[in-house]
């Protein structure tokens, strides 16, 4: 029998629709490979019953002749940052360990309504703060990939590292991710999969554990551009429960996919040619230009002069918002409470938060508290917000000269787990190419380009606001020419 776990979103959806196999067979196949992959540590909890129940519903709907949804029969991994009714939601933190939401996030509800099922809750960096999936309270996630000639466990990227690891290892056909400063694109690049972050506001933030609300945006991670388009379509749409939700129709991204780029201009930002970028990454960028030229696009140089300031601006804005958002973890309403003998309310807050947050989360809360504190607010926070405005203006000007921007996703390929943990700044530099689009709220995607020394490299596409289609189309043009077919050898 065909190994159903080799299929992606589109193949599963079409196969279930035309009766080649049942949704239940798909769910059972994926449940089995999930159960067999504990060594990756991609899941915090698995939910095989959820996947089966959703599949049975789809099979019954098909038998009754009903129209099936866009994700019908597709079991997915859910990043453990989305609140799921009756299923533990932790943000990979100790402070939320045991938290069982009594409600469902808008994005996950939309996916279930579209016929998807849940294989489990995926591991991530704690509160989505990290770029290597080494800050989770539930342990590191390992990438299924290994460097040529080495058995060292490699980082799947972060913060959506459980998502990237699971999709790359083919234990989930697709997964949700969230991107605050690269947390979908960087892990996608590290693991040879596709990942798209839409325009800020496309996906509702309601029910997603908040990190930095002006930046947080959900998106899809899968093995092809088509699969990302299908899943993103199911996740997107206006939600009155999110004040920043876009009140716009969701286009039929899948239906309008078109890799013919004749008449399109692709911008190459000269400031992205930075010191410290691997030669292999620069080579893949050149290759990417050639592919897009082959697809009919004209390649033009563009300038994003404030690129080098995007990352430091992000590391003020994001921690500032985080310090405010994470004030809700107080040991009163949900999650952990640490109440030393004889202590009062203030002591309870302080010891609960000391026991419940990991080091990176504390570091960012402290930075955020400092930059928002009296006397430093203008020098740090207001200045960073102004620089953010300049970063966004750079893109606006560049998009007068081009339709989509091509750049590397990351400055290096994946690195061994443990390599950067003692140096926060070195870790932050992973997102140097990803953060500018986040600050500007733009749709951006990573698509696998090639393999170097056994490890995948990704290329990034950034589009105008609301132009997910342009990003997906250019991504498709790369996908068709890159012919990325490599599969990690199973060691788990």
């Amino acid at each position: 029998m065909t190994d159903l776990t080799q299929f992606g979103v589109k193949d599963i959806r079409d196969g279930v629709r035309d009766g080649s196999f049942t949704a239940r067979e798909v769910a059972e196949s994926f449940n089995a490979v999930v159960a067999d992959a504990a060594a990756l540590n991609a899941f915090i909890v698995t939910t095989p019953d959820h996947a089966i129940a959703a599949a049975d519903k789809v099979d019954a709907a098909r038998a009754a002749g009903e129209t099936l949804g866009a994700m019908a029969g597709v079991p997915i991994g859910m990043k453990d940052l989305f609140a799921t009714h009756g299923v533990q939601t932790t943000a990979a933190s100790h402070i939320l360990e045991g938290f069982i939401p009594r409600y469902e996030s808008t994005v996950s509800q939309k996916l279930w309504d579209a016929g998807a099922g849940m294989l489990g809750k995926l591991n991530l960096d704690q509160f989505a703060m990290g770029s290597s999936n080494e800050t989770s309270h539930f342990g590191n996630v390992a990438s299924p990939w290994r460097k040529s000639g080495s058995n060292q466990p490699m980082s799947p990227g972060g913060s959506s590292g459980g998502s990237s690891s699971a999709v790359a290892a083919r234990i989930a056909p697709a997964a949700t991710g969230t991107d605050t400063g690269g947390s979908i694109r960087q892990p996608a690049a590290f693991t040879g999969i596709c990942g798209i972050k839409p325009t800020y506001g496309r996906c509702s933030r309601w029910g997603i554990v908040a990190f930095a609300s002006s930046l947080d945006q959900a998106g899809s991670m899968a093995r092809s551009v088509e699969d990302c388009a299908i899943m993103l379509g199911a996740m997107s749409g206006f939600d009155p429960k999110d004040s920043t939700s876009l009140q716009m129709d969701v286009p039929d991204w899948e239906g309008a996919l078109n890799a013919d780029l004749r008449g399109k201009k692709v911008g190459i930002p000269r400031e992205y040619r930075m010191e410290g970028t691997d030669q292999a990454i620069l080579d893949s960028w050149e290759q990417g230009k050639a592919w897009l030229r082959d697809a009919g696009a004209e390649i033009v140089d563009v300038s994003l002069p404030h690129t080098k300031y995007a990352l430091p601006a992000y590391y003020i804005v994001a921690p500032a918002e985080a310090s405010s958002n994470l004030a809700r973890y107080d040991g009163v309403r949900y999650g952990l409470r640490d109440l030393p003998d004889g202590s009062g309310l203030q002591d309870m807050y302080a010891s609960t938060r000391a026991a419940g947050f990991g080091d990176e989360v504390k570091r960012r809360i402290l930075i955020g508290t400092y930059v928002l504190s009296a006397g430093f607010y203008d020098a740090y926070y207001t200045q960073a917000q102004k620089v953010r405005a300049l970063v966004a203006r750079d893109f606006e000007r560049a998009f007068q000269e081009c339709d989509v921007i091509l750049a590397p996703t990351t400055p290096t390929a994946s690195f061994p787990l443990g390599e950067n943990v003692d140096d926060p700044l070195a870790m932050y530099l992973n997102d140097v190419f990803a953060v500018p689009a986040s600050l500007a709220g733009l749709p951006a995607m990573s698509v696998p380009a090639t393999i170097n020394a056994g490890l995948p490299l990704g290329l990034q596409l950034v589009g105008r606001p609301f132009d997910e289609q342009g990003v997906l189309n250019a991504g498709l043009a790369i996908q068709q020419r890159a012919g990325f077919k490599a599969v990690p050898e199973k060691w788990w």
């Binding site: 009594r102 409600y103 800020y200 302080a350 947050f357 504390k362 020098a379 740090y380 960073a384 620089v387």
Partner: protein
């Protein structure tokens, strides 16, 4: 600007995170490393630039003034709200005594 141990202790207290001496000592160089690095933002000429809070043009909406228009976020859900509380008592959140 840089921080010393006393500054970090003050920030930690504002953030309601209890930290012992060793944790404070460890945090001082880490925070200073990050603060020195973000200081480069001072080089940027921001004359006439408005600080950006919202990235994508959007208007804030008012919803219709209807009670429990969305049952998920409406009232009457006390038990759901308390379901995950570490110390729910008599339909309230329990906390340690706050007045003498």
């Amino acid at each position: 600007m840089s921080v010393d141990k006393a500054n970090v202790a003050k920030i930690a207290s504002l953030a309601r995170i209890s930290m012992d001496d060793a944790a404070l000592e460890r945090m001082v160089p880490e925070l200073n490393g990050i603060l020195q690095w973000v200081e480069q933002l001072g080089e940027v000429d921001v004359t006439g630039i408005e600080p950006m809070a919202a990235v994508i043009p959007n208007t804030l909406r008012l919803r219709d003034d209807v009670v429990d228009a969305d049952p998920l976020t409406g009232g009457g859900r006390r038990d759901d709200v308390l379901a995950n509380a570490p110390a729910a008592e008599h339909g309230f959140f329990g906390v340690p005594k706050v007045i003498e």
